[in-house]
Amino acid sequence: MKLHEYQAKGIFADAGIPVPDSQLAESVEEALDAVDEIGYPAAIKAQVHVGGRGKAGGIKIATDRDEAETYAEEILGMDLKGYTVETVLVESGVDFVDELYVGVTMDRGEGKPVLMVSTEGGVDIEEVAAESPDAIAREHVDPAFGLHPYQARKVVYNAGVDADVAGDVASIVSTLYDLYEANDATEIEVNPVMITSDRDVVAADAVMNIDEDALFRQPKLAELEDEAYEDDLERKAGEYGFDYVRLSGNVGIIGNGAGLVMTTLDLVDYYGGAPANFLDIGGGAKAERVTNALDMVFSDPNVDSVVFNIFGGITRGDEVAKGINEALSGYDELPKPVVVRLAGTNAEEGMEILNTDLLGVEKTLEAAVQRAVENAKEVSA
């Protein structure tokens, strides 16, 4: 789960990390009220989960009220890489002389959190990592011991941070690690940490991603989950308890098991179609879950055709078929063509009893996907 910049900064501020003064605004008036209070220069920052907001025009610095109004009008409601900006953070502009990058993330290969500090902050850190990996100092943290204080210092000194601010930056690194651990984060990133002409350090941006699997023990963060959704269908999937990702194509995909659903997406692409979503309904395929899954794909206006791919496994194919039929009992006609493919234990028995008045049925994954792609082409033609 990705937190918005303003949410992450709230958490930072509570932990004692210096952040600029800021206010949230959902309209141009609110933005102007905020900027009147905060003063100039003021940054107006789109609150959407999109990398490279600045380059894409989602962050502007206003030096007077006219600029503030222009920028607020520009940004509020703009489409940023597919997301509509509904909220901006109006933030006091920081007069900085230097920018650092500071991050904490999980190094999967090592199975350990890693601290990262670079003096090449303020730019795309991925590019820095790719082009001059030595410009990023790294320090792995042993998850049993947690962070030793010397490690925060070491990564800061190794990065070559100026001596006069090294202590303050180490203190930010240390606090970020504490937050990483306490909040079950998967990633925390501040890019840039700004160094002002007075040699103060300020966290000028904030990225904080939370491990969804840990929300059960992070009740405060779980409350933010709803605000974190940026798409009504993703919100709905969250309510239904589905793993769901919205994509830009027109073939809706329902399946069980992450690897098999991904494979189904890939095959849609392979056979010339474009997947509209990833939707994993998990094991079993009980009627209620099938009903909800169909609701998801049917209510997505981009979807022209659906492929439903279930590998039965322990759950027998005839039981899966019964669940599907029960879910279909509310329909006289399906709003979009659906092709079903059952496999695994008792798959043939299952396919025999499927309601073929409403559904197309195919025996192989390849055939089912090809037919769904054709259906989509026909509908959208």
Binding site: K112, P113, D184, E212, A214, V245, L247, A258, M262, I314
Partner: protein, 289 residues
């Protein structure tokens, strides 16, 4: 032969009195697995799935001489259950549970380095040596005894590929789901190394997916250390960056590491043919035999 499990494996089921645990314990027993005990705190002295239940894994291992564990424990308690299993010097612990917090698994991973126990998973379907033992939730009936090893990060995708193989009359030595989480106990390399050493495994299927760099490392391992031919499959070619595709570990990072392309390239570089469809994987394997 086989790797990791066979008919000498003696299994304790952690969480055997829960719905999932009991059902799959019964399924394992029905398949012929040597399930010898269950372990559930507070349920010691009871019986479940026809085997005695102990309060601790320690007591179960002690009393029934178990050497492997299968863990069906809810995510909030699963890491503790894994630590408990690792504390008893088992040969193998299989963690089925999906949804264990990553930071818990980082701690487990640290402990793993201190023990001789192999952990499989978490968030995995388990392991099966057809006709001998099944530890986990895999549907036994789709597997057949044979000479192809299979290792996969995904459950149902494994079934799909196995189904394609079995339908062609190609059986398996052992099939292993290593799990879809970012931090897992047994890597592709661990499994590949064991298959390479197994004299009965004549070819191996490796099903990877987006996220992390395990497949790239495995590709290098295959290129440098394996004579047994390997055919690959990589799921998630169409996954957008920054989105978790069902599995907690299946995510292409913003920086573009963990892409299907990178994995497919690495495998191809190591001489491993990668199928565009599961059927194509079966074609490659058939060509090896």
């Amino acid at each position: 032969m086989s790797i990791f499990v066979d008919d000498d494996t003696r299994v304790v089921v952690q969480g055997i009195t829960g719905g999932e645990g009991k059902f799959h314990a019964e399924q394992m027993i029905e398949y012929g697995t040597n399930v010898v005990a269950g372990a559930v705190p507070g349920k010691g002295g009871q019986e479940a799935a026809g085997v005695p239940v102990y309060d601790t894994v320690d007591a179960a291992v002690e009393a029934e001489d178990a050497n492997a564990s299968v863990i069906f424990v809810p995510p909030a308690f699963a890491a503790d259950a894994i630590f408990e299993a690792l504390d008893t010097d088992l040969d193998l612990a299989v963690a089925i549970t999906e949804g264990i917090p990553t930071q818990d698994m980082a701690k487990v991973n640290k402990r793993l380095g201190e023990t001789d126990t192999r952990l499989l998973g978490p968030n995995c379907p388990g392991i099966i040596t057809p006709g001998e033992a099944k530890l986990g939730i895999l549907p036994g009936n789709i597997f057949a005894d044979g000479n192809v090893g299979l290792v996969s990060r995904s459950g149902t995708l494994t079934y799909q590929v196995v189904d394609n193989l079995t339908e062609r009359g190609i059986g398996q030595t052992t099939a292993i789901g290593i799990g879809g989480d970012p931090i897992i106990g047994t890597s592709f390399i661990d499994a590949l190394e064991a298959f390479e050493a197994d004299t009965e495994t004549d070819a191996v299927v490796m099903c990877g997916e987006i996220g992390g760099e395990d497949e790239e490392q495995a590709a290098r391992f295959i290129g440098e250390h394996m004579d047994t031919p390997v055919a690959g499959f990589i799921a998630g070619r169409t996954a957008p960056p920054g989105k978790r595709m069902g599995h907690a570990g299946a995510i292409v990072s913003g920086s573009g590491t963990g892409t299907a392309e990178s994995k497919i390239d690495a495998l191809n570089d190591a001489g491993v043919p990668v199928g565009d469809t599961p059927e194509e994987v079966a074609d490659h394997i058939e060509s090896f035999l």
